[in-house]
Amino acid sequence: MTELPVYVLERAFNAPRALVWRTWTEPDLLSKWYGPGVETVIHELDVQPGGQWLNEMRMGDSSGYQKSVFTEVVPPERLIMLMSTTNADWELAPNPMMPDWPATLLTVVTFEETDGVTQMRLEWSPHNASPAEIACFAGAVENLGKGWGAGMEMLAQILADLQA
């Protein structure tokens, strides 16, 4: 069993951990920050193991749907969930534009507080993914993690040249 690729984002927030926790677990707060430039509608948010978060993102006339199933809930330290893209009936549906992007991402969110500042860390890795999905995610993470790695720099240069 090879190790799965993991993508990580971290951000420090100037707020106590208990408050940051509320922004993930209270629907009227979560809908205010999740999803930039879209109207976020939370159809269900049941933050407990086995509970789910049903999320709709409205962009003009169209909507994107996500279902997250919580697998571990340790207030106010850690949330683990399986995040999937779905259709309007909350059935798993791989993105038609990116069929090799993992349909379900295991998402681990951790909160650590030091002197009133909360460090929030998100980790994503493919869950129950096909080899193609894992390879796709690994390639993406490898290149994004370097903030445009060698391949991507080459690509950016080529695209710039083409547009010149």
């Binding site: 922004t23 999803g35 040249d161």
Partner: protein, 118 residues
């Protein structure tokens, strides 16, 4: 991002990244960025046989990065930038989504802290 829903096959990121992982293939792409070229023309700066270059071109073709004319004897290869552009946009979009969300969360937390003080 301008998404063309009529595109018959979405870009295969797996194939694209595999194709880009090889330095010779990146060189070939750079060469093709300057204009279409035949296998012979592509092979000349490399210490490599034409069949070896043809193999690399096949990998690039499968990834959708390169197209080759079917109706000409020379079969020049041409850079096809669209799938690359879409793949890059996709990777960036996920990151941008979350960073944008974090910015909104930052603002929300400031607001909540002030409300708690009142």
């Amino acid at each position: 991002m301008n998404i063309d829903l009529a595109t018959p096959s979405a870009p295969n990121l797996d194939a694209i990244f595999a194709a880009l992982a090889d330095p010779t293939r990146r060189e070939i792409l750079t060469r093709l960025a300057g204009g279409e070229a035949t296998v012979n023309e592509i092979a000349s700066p490399f210490e490599m046989s034409q069949p070896a270059i043809s193999k690399h071109l096949k990998v690039l073709e499968r990834a959708g990065l390169v197209t080759r004319a079917v109706d000409q004897q020379r079969r020049p290869a041409k850079l096809n930038a669209k799938p690359m552009r879409e793949a890059v946009d996709w990777l960036e979009a996920f990151r941008e989504f979350w960073l944008g969300s974090f910015d909104q969360l930052d603002g929300l937390l400031d607001q909540l802290k002030h409300e708690e003080k009142d």
